[in-house]
């Protein structure tokens, strides 16, 4: 599978979704972090968007790898190393996978596992993983059940949104919010929110293909 022509519009859609929610994301990271998450992400996305011409020439494995290296070398911060690792790992996994539900689930899962490993974190620690892991679980069970595309995409959005919202009442045990103890409760994690926004945009864009 080498058609990566869906990437440029997808990246653009993600960029504009993040920009539309910039103030909210910034406020989330200011409340229990240091406020830079949305800036970091936008810097990374901008760099990725500049690669569009190159990305469409690549197969999806190489494209994911390229995106990962770009995020890694432009974002910085905790999220830069994590998202960078995720995409690089997805790129590696994609080498052996078809671009079907099965393949996408395997590739996405490899990405999430690399975040868990790099961040030494798991579900329930008030991080982006609280969005990413439920989506992985949803994908895995939909793959097993051979769910149809509409169901898969709608489940992604539900899992991402519920996961993101679950961070609100958590105590944080990873990331900057962990320094705040009880004071972190009541705030949604910024990385969980951006992951949810991105996954929802991806689901919406895939539904159009």
């Amino acid at each position: 599978m080498t058609d990566t022509s869906f990437l440029p519009p997808l990246i653009a859609a993600i960029q504009s979704e993040i920009i539309n929610n910039e103030a909210e994301i910034s406020a989330l990271d200011r409340a229990i972090g240091d406020g830079d998450h949305v800036t970091n992400l936008l810097r990374g996305l901008e760099a990725v968007a500049k690669l569009n011409d190159e990305l469409v020439q690549l197969d999806w494995s190489a494209a994911l790898m390229k995106i990962g290296m770009t995020l890694m070398s432009t974002m910085g911060g905790a999220s830069g190393s994590l998202l960078g690792s995720m995409f690089v790992s997805m790129g590696k996994a994609a080498k052996e996978q078809e671009l079907d539900l099965n393949g996408m689930t395997a590739v996405y899962s490899a990405g999430v596992e690399s975040i868990k490993a790099r961040g030494k974190a798991d579900i329930g620690e008030k991080t982006m993983l609280d969005t990413l892991i439920p989506v992985m679980q949803s994908l895995q069970s939909d793959t097993e059940q051979n769910a149809d595309k509409t169901t898969v995409l709608s489940n992604i959005k539900t899992a991402a949104t519920q996961g993101m919202q679950s961070t609100k009442d958590m105590l944080a045990t990873k990331g900057r919010a962990s320094f705040l103890g009880e004071r972190a409760r009541g705030h949604i994690d910024a990385g969980a929110r951006t992951s949810q926004l991105i996954l929802c945009v991806i689901a919406d864009e895939l539904s159009k293909i």
Partner: protein, 328 residues
């Protein structure tokens, strides 16, 4: 937001340009990616590399030079640098004796340095600085690295300059970390250029106790009280951590966060010195000033390092960087 800048996009690059220009006798600035290296590094000396988000100046760029760091990798403001910065800096300054990374314990710094280290194909070690005792030792992410980092960099820097090998530098760095404790209090937030507003709100009669150095809120909000009370809280936490015994020699470092005048920092020094001297502890070295800052945050931290002969000798050894200089 009131700042002497031309725009939030260009502030970091322009500031690094100015730094490079002002100190071109001792350092060199690489633009793509950003890193600062020492000029005239001797052959076969362990290469010391540190880095972290910008906004803590003079840390770390101002500590590159003879007797301290060989390279520093500044990230965006309060954002850890990226692995390619560290990797390229390491490749440039490594010359036969390996690389020692000195990393403040923050998720972003740790993970980005880790990735760089994994990609580096020469002997390397990492010293993780986690001197902030505002968090319990068993905190889920470990404690943060704050103003004690400078002390690690100075002492290990002198050892490397004197010819210590990679293993010895790593061991000494860990020793300094284990001998160092810090804690800080903020009177105001800082304003990150890209945000254009203070990171947190705080009322006129509150302080944030137990803050890190990225403008995050602290462990708890407290009522603004006297310097006596605030220093007592900080010094007590440090004392309980390090448990210095009578006649123990120490280095006492009062670090300003950027907007607190020297007049207040020296006042804090006086109170902290009294606190420790009353316990029979011997303050043999001191450092007072803005070294590990949070942009324009008001407040300060106290750092104490238990010193032995070896550490004292390395602390006193000549150093020539933009921010610390003696003996040269």
């Amino acid at each position: 937001m009131k700042k002497l800048i031309n725009g939030v996009e260009s502030v970091l690059e322009e500031s690094l340009n100015g730094f490079a220009r002002a100190h071109s006798n001792i350092i060199q600035f690489n633009h793509q990616p950003h890193y600062v290296t020492r000029k005239n590094k001797p052959e076969n000396k362990v290469a010391l590399i540190s880095g972290g988000g910008a906004g803590h100046e003079p840390l770390h760029t101002g500590l590159v030079g003879k007797g301290m760091l060989d390279a520093a990798c500044p990230g965006q403001v309060f954002t850890s640098p990226t692995p390619d910065q560290m990797l390229m800096a390491a490749q440039e300054v490594e010359n036969g004796a390996g690389v020692l990374f000195i990393v403040k314990n923050y998720a972003g710094d740790v993970m980005n340095f880790e990735i760089a280290a994994e990609m580096l194909d020469c002997p390397h070690e990492t010293v993780l600085v986690n001197d902030d005792v505002s968090l319990p030792k068993n905190h889920s992410t470990g404690r943060r690295g704050v103003a004690g980092t400078l002390i690690v960099e100075k002492i290990v820097g002198a050892a490397a300059e004197a010819g210590a090998d990679l293993a010895a530098c790593k061991q000494l760095g860990d020793k300094v970390v284990n001998s160092t404790a810090s804690m800080g209090v903020a009177l105001t937030s800082c304003t990150v250029p890209a945000l254009g507003q203070p990171t947190f709100d705080i009322s006129d009669n509150e302080v944030e106790m137990g803050v890190g150095i990225h403008g995050e809120r602290g462990r708890e909000v407290m009522s603004l009280t006297t310097a006596d009370d605030l220093v007592h809280i900080l010094a007590k936490a440090i004392d309980e951590e390090l448990k210095p015994t009578k006649d123990q020699r120490v280095l006492l470092h009062i670090n300003g966060f950027g907007a607190t005048p020297l007049m207040e920092l020296y006042l804090v020094y006086d109170l902290a010195a009294q606190f420790f001297e009353e316990r029979g502890i011997k303050i043999v070295r001191s450092l007072v000033g803005n070294y590990t800052t949070s942009l324009d945050m008001a407040g300060c931290s106290i750092t104490l390092t238990l010193m032995d002969d070896e550490m004292l000798q390395y602390w006193d050894a000549p150093v020539h960087t933009a921010a610390l200089r003696w003996g040269i």
